[in-house]
């Protein structure tokens, strides 16, 4: 890319290299969101339309990762509770939900969407407290997008004849679902909405660190008058997840989480007839060509890796930059992340909130240490972090090569690895040189190149001149070890039905 000016004046000896000052001339006062999240002190299991105590009588604490304080107690489910939940789901499927006309199922889903929209701010605050994500993201993304998923899929419930041309579709029956902690309510919506629209009933387990919005949604399901047993929530750690996966009743298992656990699930379901959707890890390449709209590309890079503290399976964690603009992009990126605000997730101005758990923080810290040790160049903006809670500065590594651990392993944190390339083929080769295949980004002003890249990239989602965009109408899911099956759109519905 040519320089930005006709006559370069960099030869003037007297001037120091120009720098922008992002100081504290105009420091913002704290702007905490004050809406009441209406949390209960203790959350029971949600089975057959009721909140019920776990058979064990045990509860575990859910803490706020922003300050390590306890938010609520969550029921510790056991295999026996999971069994009760599945029996309820089966009865609801056999007696009510499986027989209900699609038009009426649709109305329940529309109700859920509307009730969630009504209580959007309350849910956003609860999501932020429980998971550590910035309030502006839970407010402007997670909660409205969750409602949108219910609204979209509601409309499908009476239009299923259009889902599979040439065939008719029928629900699978009962499905078991296990979701991760990075988008607790949104992943819940992604899982529930298509399953219910198609006429299935559900047993779902949220992640143990983020169960609260799931159980708050149970309140909405009650308010909506959803028939008992159609949706059941069981809470707890990996053992509860295993019980959900391995129970004989479910006809299908849907899981979002790590590739490591996905492999365990696939092995454990071997020999059963259960269908599966697995949405797993990623190490996406975000590819910037020299003709790209660079200022917007920088926004996209930032959004791609720092959105939700980088706890995003499709995060653009590997930045591939065309060599002619590599230096320029790095400078712009540094200037951009200097104004990212890290801190209290409840503050409306926070861009990067708390890391979800102590364990995740330890993992990020150790991978970043490996990057430094392997010789990559680290940049982090200065600024104070809160003393309590789990925080990590936005981090960019330049001078990364494909053999570095930080270029190959999923970090799941606010850490970007920058690599360079010279030609289109080299970019494709580097982008595809991974066991993952969830997503990719391409930045160029040339339309035909976007389509060429989209054709060549082995990834389930390709974003062009944007990144991390989601919509209920748009199928999402991976190639290769990023899993299989799609969520969203017409294709996503096909994963929740049988063809007859």
């Amino acid at each position: 890319m040519p320089t930005l000016t006709a006559k370069k004046i960099s030869t003037r000896p007297s001037r120091p290299a120009p720098e922008l000052i992002f100081g504290d001339l105009w420091e913002f006062d704290p702007a905490p969101e004050t809406a009441d999240p209406k949390l209960k002190a203790r959350y029971d299991l949600f089975i057959n339309g009721q909140f019920v105590a776990p058979k064990s009588g045990k509860y575990f604490d859910s803490i706020n990762p922003a300050n390590e304080q306890k938010l609520a107690e969550i029921a510790q489910a056991s295999a026996a509770d999971v069994d009760v939940a599945y029996q309820a789901a089966k009865a609801a499927y056999d007696n009510v939900w499986g027989k209900m006309p699609g038009r009426e199922r649709a109305k329940y889903l529309f109700r859920i969407a509307r009730l969630l929209q009504d209580r959007a701010r309350e849910f956003a605050v609860a999501e932020t407290l429980d998971g550590g994500k910035p309030i502006k993201e839970s407010r402007d993304f997670d909660v409205p997008m969750a409602a949108a998923h219910f609204f979209y899929h509601a409309g499908w419930a009476d239009k299923l004849d259009y889902v599979a041309p040439g065939r008719r579709v029928a629900p699978l029956g009962v499905v078991g679902q296990v979701i991760p902690w990075n988008f607790p309510l949104l992943m819940l919506a992604w899982k529930l909405a298509p399953a219910l629209a198609m006429g299935n009933t559900v047993v779902l387990k949220p992640a143990e660190t983020t169960s609260i919005t799931c159980l708050k949604l149970a309140e909405i399901l009650q308010d909506a008058g959803l028939p008992p047993g159609v949706v059941n929530f069981v809470t707890g750690a990996g053992d509860v997840g295993a019980a959900v996966m391995n129970h004989p009743i479910p006809a299908k298992i849907a899981f979002t989480g790590s590739t490591e656990v996905g492999k365990i699930i696939m092995r454990s379901l071997a020999g059963t007839d259960k269908k599966m959707t697995l949405e797993l890890g990623g190490k996406a390449a975000n590819i910037v060509f020299d003709d790209a709209p660079l200022n917007q590309a920088v926004e996209g890079i930032v959004n791609g890796i720092f959105f939700n503290q980088g706890h995003v399976c499709c995060a653009g964690s590997r930045l591939l930059v065309h060599e002619p603009v590599a230096e320029q992009v790095l400078t712009k990126l540094k200037n951009r992340i200097k104004v990212l605000r890290v801190g209290d997730p409840l503050d409306k101005n926070t861009d990067i909130g708390a890391i979800n758990s102590k364990e995740q923080l330890a993992k990020i810290t150790s991978l970043v240490a490996s990057g430094v040790k392997e010789g990559a160049v680290l940049f982090q903006p200065s600024g104070r972090l809160p003393t309590k809670g789990f925080y990590f500065r936005p981090t960019i590594f330049s001078g990364v090569s494909m053999s570095h651990r930080i270029a190959r392993e999923e970090i799941f944190g606010p850490v970007l690895s920058i690599l360079t390339f010279r030609t289109v083929d080299e970019a494709i080769e580097k982008a595809n040189n991974t066991a993952y295949g969830l997503s990719a980004g391409v930045w160029t002003d040339k339309g035909s190149r976007i389509l060429k890249m989209s054709t060549e990239l082995k990834a389930g989602v390709v974003w062009a001149n944007t990144y991390n965009k989601f919509d209920p109408t748009s199928p999402f899911g991976g190639y290769k070890e990023s899993g299989f099956g799609r969520e969203g759109g017409r294709q996503g519905l096909l994963d929740y039905c049988k063809l007859i």
Partner: protein, 314 residues
């Protein structure tokens, strides 16, 4: 043939200065609106914004009396108790400059800006436009707000456009120049970025680029502002020359002004958070800023008719 086509000329210019993605710009600026400015930060921002106002009257019906009352408002926007700073400048037509000078006197920090160069269309012979600039400076204008030749830009005659700006720079002498791109007539963000660079290359450090005349359908928006301040930033990082910025037209509320200032804080940084580097071309804005400052001070929401020169009488 190809080399002579306006489109090819624009294409080469875009290749040189880089493209802008419109959707990306809109998404970026939407985030500024979500910044929540409270308490001391709000008061500081409101006062800063007031100090950046080019208090403007550009009407056919302007009279010496109207200009005099505008100047009084510029010097003392409200009861001094409230601590509202003086505005940066008054902005008037060339024929009103001498009246403004008379009203303000010579010993004042409030500057006199005059639109010139056959504002707002620019459709007069260059000689006439330059004479107008010289006349305004002669009558005491400290700053000249000129319009670019949009016809020349859109037909790919960049040399003509730049030569005219150079001629106005010369005619300005010591006066600061503000170059109005009239973004609504350039239409695309690509054009706005390209025109910003063409202008910046021929003006002086401390001169301004400015969005609009305020006389067309669409004026300053956060999107236009962002494209121009990113151009200023990119030009500064490349050359070390700091160009100033003035959005004009359509910024009426304190809330809007604070959002524009957030854009500056996060794009150009602290060095542009002053009235030598950033201005608002506005008339109604000042009163809303004063009103919000009064609200911050007293805690009570204010009615518009407590403030002089209010246009709202309901």
């Amino acid at each position: 043939m190809l080399a002579r086509s306006p489109h090819a000329a624009l294409r080469r210019l875009f290749d040189e200065v880089g493209a802008v993605d419109a959707v990306g710009i809109e998404e970026r600026v939407a985030k500024y609106g979500t910044r929540s400015i409270k308490k001391a930060a709000k008061l500081w921002g409101l006062k800063l914004a007031a100090s950046m106002v080019d208090l403007t009257t550009l009407e056919g019906k302007d009279t010496p009396g109207k200009v005099a009352s505008l100047c009084q408002k510029a010097l003392c926007p409200h009861d001094p108790e409230l601590g509202v700073p003086q505005v940066a400048a008054v902005c008037v037509y060339p024929a009103m400059v001498k009246h403004a000078r008379k009203a303000l006197g010579s010993d004042t920090a409030v500057r006199i800006a005059s639109v010139a160069t056959a504002f707002p269309s620019g459709q007069a012979p260059l000689k006439t436009r330059l004479a107008e600039v010289k006349a305004a400076v002669g009558d005491g204008a400290d700053e000249i707000d000129m319009v670019i030749n949009r016809g020349a830009f859109l037909s790919g005659e960049f040399g003509v456009m730049q030569d005219e700006i150079r001629a106005v720079v010369a005619a300005c002498g010591d006066a600061t120049l503000k170059v109005i791109l009239e973004v609504s007539e350039l239409e695309t963000y690509d054009n706005i970025r390209a025109a910003s660079f063409l202008a910046m290359r021929v003006i002086r450090e401390g001169d301004f680029i400015k969005t609009s005349t305020g006389k067309t359908s669409l004026n300053a928006t956060l999107g236009n502002n962002q494209v121009m301040i990113e151009a200023i930033r990119d030009y500064y990082l490349d050359t070390g020359v700091s160009i100033a910025m003035k959005p004009a037209g359509g910024i009426r509320t304190a809330k809007q002004a604070l959002t524009f200032l957030v854009a500056i804080k996060e794009t150009l940084g602290d060095a542009w958070l002053n009235n030598a580097r950033y201005r608002f071309g506005a008339s109604a804005l000042l009163n809303d800023l004063i009103r919000q400052i009064a609200k911050e001070r007293s805690g009570a929401y204010q009615a518009p008719y407590y403030f002089s020169e209010a246009t709202e009488s309901y």
